[in-house]
Symmetry: C2
Subunit: 159 residues, 2 copies
């Protein structure tokens, strides 16, 4: 009974969907990923986005992002689809994130295979009913990755 009541309440408040990324040089691929992520939570879903810290990005990709973390976070939060954006921790641990945010759905981007594995393991370990959703790549655009945008900028402006 108590469980049933909790579930009804959850239905009303909408699911919490968690997405994450660097979001350096924001492009339409990012927005489509976030929109699909939110959609995976059904109606009334709330989308919380973790934006990676500069140091985390540097550690993972060997390069600092172009835009500093506070600006990336603020830009992500200025999107219609985003309810809340928060900066990640320097020592990102998906397990802590799950405890803190208590998501119903975790959305993983097409280029986040590493993260997907970590997430799936953590979910199984915790035995929580969290849905892990892989979001497909967004259609045809040439400029659906920050790296491609950077390459195009470099081509156009070299010299």
């Amino acid at each position: 009974m108590a469980k049933h009541k909790r579930e009804t309440m959850k239905k009303k408040r909408g699911k919490i969907v968690l997405a994450s990324g660097t979001f350096d040089l924001l492009h339409l691929g990012h927005v489509k990923y976030l929109e699909e992520a939110k959609k995976a939570g059904g109606s009334n879903a709330k989308l919380i986005v973790i934006v990676a810290r500069d140091k985390t990005v540097e550690k993972r990709k060997g390069r600092k992002p172009v835009m500093p973390e506070e600006e990336r976070k603020a830009l992500v939060e200025s999107l219609k689809v985003v309810d809340e954006a928060i900066l990640g921790r320097e020592n990102f641990d998906i397990s802590d994130v799950i405890d803190e945010i208590k998501p119903d759905v975790i959305a993983v981007g097409h280029d986040q295979a590493n993260i997907e594995e970590q997430v799936r393991k953590a979910v199984v370990r915790k035995g929580l009913p969290i849905q892990v959703v892989r979001i497909g790549r967004y259609g045809k655009p040439e400029l659906d990755s920050s790296l491609k945008i950077k390459k195009k900028v470099t081509e156009l402006y070299k010299g």
Copy 2:
């Protein structure tokens, strides 16, 4: 009386604010400009943003934008602050735009001195009660212009 009624209705529906730009490589300076623009229209303002066509940008700046026009438009429209984004005409004429959109306020960015002059002239010529607002530069950030971002990308990724 009729005029009074119209004005009351206008008050209810909120003012239409028009902003414009290229919005190539979206950054926080763009968002702040759009937020200030909307604020200039008071409560319930509706913000319509004209996004410059690729050809117009090429003609004015001598270089194509990095992001194609449809993507720039879609990205601008995905911002919370924006009610509607439309692509400009190839032969941009502020006078036609005013006739079409009937803005109450036209917001000009800190780097749009040319456009401001055109707008002010058109408003005077038409004798319309349109408020022209110059939006100041947004604070301190280093990366508040697309050109600076492009330069930083080029520095980081050259070689």
